[in-house]
Symmetry: none
Subunit: 415 residues, 2 copies
Amino acid sequence: MSEKKVFLIVCDGMADRPTRDRKFETPLDVAHKPNIDELARLGSVGLVDPISPGVVPGSDVAHFALLGYDPFRFYTGRGSLEAVGAGIRLAPTDVAFRCNFATVDENLTVVDRRAGRIKEHTQDLAESLNGMRITSTPDVAAEFHSTIEHRAVLVLRGPSISRMVSDTDPHATNIKVAKSTPLDETPASKKTAVALNEFTEKSFEILQKHEVNIERKSRGQNPANIVVARGPGTLPPITPLTVQYGIKAACVAAVPMVRGICKISGMEVLNVEGATGGLDTNLDAKAHAALEASEKNDLVFLHVKATDIPSHDGNFEMKKKILEKIDKMFGTMFDQIDLGNTYIALTADHATPISVRDHSADPVPIVIAGPDFPPSGLKKFSEKNSAHGNIGRIRALDIIPMIADRLGRAKKFGF
Amino acid sequence: MSEKKVFLIVCDGMADRPTRDRKFETPLDVAHKPNIDELARLGSVGLVDPISPGVVPGSDVAHFALLGYDPFRFYTGRGSLEAVGAGIRLAPTDVAFRCNFATVDENLTVVDRRAGRIKEHTQDLAESLNGMRITSTPDVAAEFHSTIEHRAVLVLRGPSISRMVSDTDPHATNIKVAKSTPLDETPASKKTAVALNEFTEKSFEILQKHEVNIERKSRGQNPANIVVARGPGTLPPITPLTVQYGIKAACVAAVPMVRGICKISGMEVLNVEGATGGLDTNLDAKAHAALEASEKNDLVFLHVKATDIPSHDGNFEMKKKILEKIDKMFGTMFDQIDLGNTYIALTADHATPISVRDHSADPVPIVIAGPDFPPSGLKKFSEKNSAHGNIGRIRALDIIPMIADRLGRAKKFGF
């Protein structure tokens, strides 16, 4: 272990886009956040392009870059990240899908993509699908796990299968469940599409007769009578950053995809009571878990989802309020941190501007404080101020190497 | 020749890292250096990443980038640079190694990796190894040259050999000289390792009987009784920048590796009396040599090693003093330079922070003054100030193209 500690705190979608109609003021500008502003004054500040200027990143791709993995080289789909994040062990040859329990009519036309946001008995439903025989591809096995509410993960296991297949989730209602088709010419992709289509048809045969669904129908609820799949993925071929740099790392995050990437990166993924990934998440519990984890780790990665939710809803006031809650979390951490031997960095995985209500390509602010990052002298942490910081403009992919260098763990290139 | 002249001055390891315990003040901050500070005020200032943020460069790799060659594409090992720098002509198929005369016992266990830092009669020793027959690979010839003190260069010449072999230098004492092994599966690498191992064994047979060593032993000195090799390299497949841009260029440098890269880049490599590559180097002689060279060249590259030495030693005061000496060199040059038709640029190949005592990934400051670089208005040339300069944050790889553009020698990309 290094003598120095690092906290890397990522607030999902925290960055916003200054707009004329709001006098170019963002939630970061107007929120009362004395602790974060003090951090920005004491630390070095700059702008980060999640990928490169003008590229709009998904949260998965953005987290690859944030953890030092070039997504153009290493990103191999979302399903595998969800699967690992849900605690499922994957072999490098497995293909994993994000799934929903959905409601279809007898023609397999989708009535409800989330089966009435079913909460109960999803494990019973999932178990009824495990052990299913896929007769058209007998060497492919299907493993199925329910996760949160209507969500689930399907893992196809077998020789010569591929993630290059289309979704069965039609991503809309009043149209039929889609047939998966191969996205390239390989036999592996054809085989995988065949297996997925058989799994999907059989899921309908099994689930529509399931007693859980018979009861739901009798109560007037939408039955969870089919599984639709999307986002096929395989394990990314990465070297864990813990191995790459010889460090120990832990992650405090509630979102399964983030937990998955962190696990694949070699981090210990902690469970924190009250950390929900929602607006109600217990930030104080997260802060304390991070502080405790730092005793046994060089790097603690702390992810807060709550900033992204009001951003997608276009709710300026709520985003401001969440930032003020996050500032209190920083206060808790600040009290226990010595900047003489600890680095604390705050950034976002991407911007989700209120005016866009979705991810955008805007650069995001970053602050890194610690024993040898000179003070920016800026009075406020904001998108506008960060453009005048002392880091300049870097890319998310640069952050982990910069930190590894500060920990003395970077390998020299050349002599 | 262009009507304009360029001086590109690189102070090795000059950049430092501001740290909290020194109130974020570096040697560049506290040194009295009125000439360099005036240059920063008159010229444009910015930050340079030697490679990219977080990547720690070796001096060789950093110089590739500084001369406009992407090291990820063109870097082919260190030994070839040392060989060329020592005046040895290499064919594209040759493999060159950096070598030491070392002292081993009869079991080939290393007693002293530098043979008592032997100074005398190393040419006699070297000559005894030339003409050696390598019987296991009869089409490979070995050419061996002593250079400075215990240092030497081995060139293997023959068809189908490779630089992908491990060192015989064990990089430590009290362990045996290493057997070179191939680092890939090619026959060329296997053959090269066999040739190097036979050369190494025979160097022991020949050197231990050499009269120079018999005399050294009789005087109680460690005999130079074996050659250990490291850093295999081949000629990098680059187009000389002089050809690329149609310019004439010269280099004032003492360090063999830097002289080698400059020679491969098409520069005339000058010999300057008193330019030692050490703390005692005659900077005034270097300045005058550079000024004189500028009469017949478009670009003069001036390298000063002295800043790197106290940095590796962690000697803040010495680094400050060296910077003050370098400032006087700038005074000499300033007196003779007209910024109306001359560019003068100062930067570092990499940072070697006092607090790290080794290369780091920190960005380094740059200033370029001349007829058409607007003044930064900054009052001091330092790491912190450069973050607020008017160049922004660039990469070392950008510098030569920027200069070529100012000389009107850049080729348009597209129409």
